[in-house]
């Protein structure tokens, strides 16, 4: 069947079997290998992408079901202005070691900060609780997300304070 969706702002149409999972559609059909594929059992969360601004596990989502929707992957985080603050935070605070869990962690973090610009540690821990990191022990991931949150709040304040 023909599957069309908007991925990171671009309209994409591709022939794929109805049984194609979104994670394979992105990685194998479109070459967007930023999204990782891990446990294949809906548990690890490395495959998290957004469908209409909501984080979902793309190994448990049919590409066909995403047809007609907006999908955002880790490749879509960076803008013309540079890296997303979440990406910067992961660099600044060593939010990754092997990097396997990182794309999913960052997509969930971005969605969280869009909803809650100043999340407590507890809220951050809950938000990423469906995602597994075998390297960092999570502390640096949490710090990375906090770093991004405070950077965004500072930017927001300085924009407010700047003359019109």
């Amino acid at each position: 069947m023909e599957i069309s969706m908007n991925i990171n702002g671009d309209d994409v149409t591709m022939e794929a079997e109805p049984r194609t999972l979104l994670v394979h559609f992105l990685r194998d059909h479109l070459g967007l290998t930023g999204t990782h594929w891990g446990c294949d059992t809906s548990n690890c969360g490395t495959c998290v992408v957004w469908v209409d601004e909501e984080p979902v596990k793309s190994c448990t989502h049919l590409a066909a079901m995403a047809g007609g929707h907006r999908v955002k992957t880790v490749e879509g985080l960076e803008t013309a202005d540079g890296l997303d603050p979440v990406q910067e935070g992961f660099i600044q605070c060593h939010g990754l070691q092997c990097g396997y869990c990182t794309p999913g962690m960052m997509m969930t973090a971005r969605a969280l900060l869009d909803k809650d610009p100043d999340p407590s540690e507890e809220v951050i821990r809950e938000a990423i609780s469906g995602q597994i990191c075998r390297c960092t022990g999570y502390s640096t991931i949490i710090r990375s997300i906090q770093w991004a949150a405070s950077k965004e709040r500072e930017t927001a304040v300085s924009l407010e304070g700047s003359p019109a």
């Binding site: 069947m1 079997e17 109805p18 049984r19 194609t20 999972l21 394979h24 294949d40 059992t41 809906s42 548990n43 969360g45 998290v48 909501e54 984080p55 979902v56 596990k57 448990t60 989502h61 049919l62 066909a64 079901m65 969930t108 809950e126 938000a127 609780s129 469906g130 995602q131």
Partner: protein, 291 residues
């Protein structure tokens, strides 16, 4: 790599369209809602439908939480996340928020639905225990119209429900009663996991006695979403620690868990008792304004 067996995919444009498709395609067709039980089963080839009918576009018809004078009506496609976030729902039935906080993880909760949970009918499905403790009923639609089935008739056994070929669950109705409250407790091995065991309780008070009480157990055996002997033991009794201990023991006696990687049968039986006590205590505290 786990990939489902081939199937044909169709999007329903209305509930009637979905039902017409199912009627035509028979038992080779399956509805997919959140897909978070069905897709993993298809990947493992435990389910191999030939046609998949996607109902995710039917938000207007199937995704809502509506309050009337004496009941709450929840559309089958309402997602876990929506059930968790609804302050109105938590105010009337705090058991929903108690349970939703510990059902799966936030990303899974963005997709999984009430209807999918009830229709999956896994004995470890938390919302089955929640809905049965609340004495909910299910609206099932077929080409002939709607029929309403009480929760205890809805679940026919593990993975089996009253929904038959050519039918769909459209709505869950929960009666609102004054002087009532509810609570849920679950023990899990790690964040986001299925229950080792859990118990939900709902009570209606009449002055200082329990007029009506229901307890549902989860993951300790099939058909325990409402333990009737517990309701019998609670009726007309004043709440006390002795009463909780008595019904906790009834829960343990009715539990029939299996030893598995989540725990031994003995441990789960202990949990059935202890979580029943805690949920009942909490429900009564809430109903009597002490919590």
């Amino acid at each position: 790599m786990q990939v489902p067996a081939p199937f044909e995919y169709e999007r329903a444009t209305s509930v009637d369209h979905a039902i017409a498709l199912m009627e035509r395609l028979g038992d080779e067709a399956r509805v997919v809602a959140g897909g978070h039980s069905l897709i993993p089963m298809m990947k493992l080839r435990l389910a191999m439908p030939e046609y998949l009918i996607d109902i995710n576009d039917l938000t207007e018809e199937l995704q809502y939480i509506r309050f009337t004078e004496d009941e709450v009506r929840i559309g089958a496609l309402t997602r876990h996340q929506q059930l968790l976030e609804s302050d109105e729902l938590a105010a009337v039935f705090p058991i929903f928020r108690d349970a939703e906080k510990v059902i799966a993880d936030p990303v899974v909760r963005n997709r999984g639905t009430l209807g999918g949970s009830l229709c999956q009918a896994d004995p470890s499905e938390d919302l089955s225990a929640v809905c049965d403790a609340l004495n909910a009923s299910c609206v099932i639609r077929n080409t002939g119209g709607d029929r309403v089935v009480e929760m205890h008739d809805f679940h026919r056994g593990p993975y089996e429900t009253a929904v038959i070929e050519g039918e769909m669950l459209t709505e869950v109705r929960i009666p609102i009663r004054p002087n009532s409250s509810s609570a849920y407790h679950k023990v899990e091995r790690r964040a986001g996991d299925w229950a080792v065991a859990s118990a939900g309780a709902a009570v209606t008070m009449d002055g200082s006695v329990i007029a009506d009480g229901r307890v549902g157990l989860c993951a300790v055996g099939p058909n325990l979403t409402n333990v009737q002997p517990i309701s019998d033991a609670l009726r007309g009794q004043a709440p006390s620690e002795e009463l909780y201990a008595t019904v906790g023991q009834i829960a343990a006696d009715n539990a029939n868990p299996a030893t598995d990687t989540r725990g031994t049968a003995a441990y789960k039986t202990h949990l059935a008792k202890e979580l029943t006590v805690r949920s009942l205590r909490k429900a009564v505290e809430r109903a009597t304004g002490q919590a």
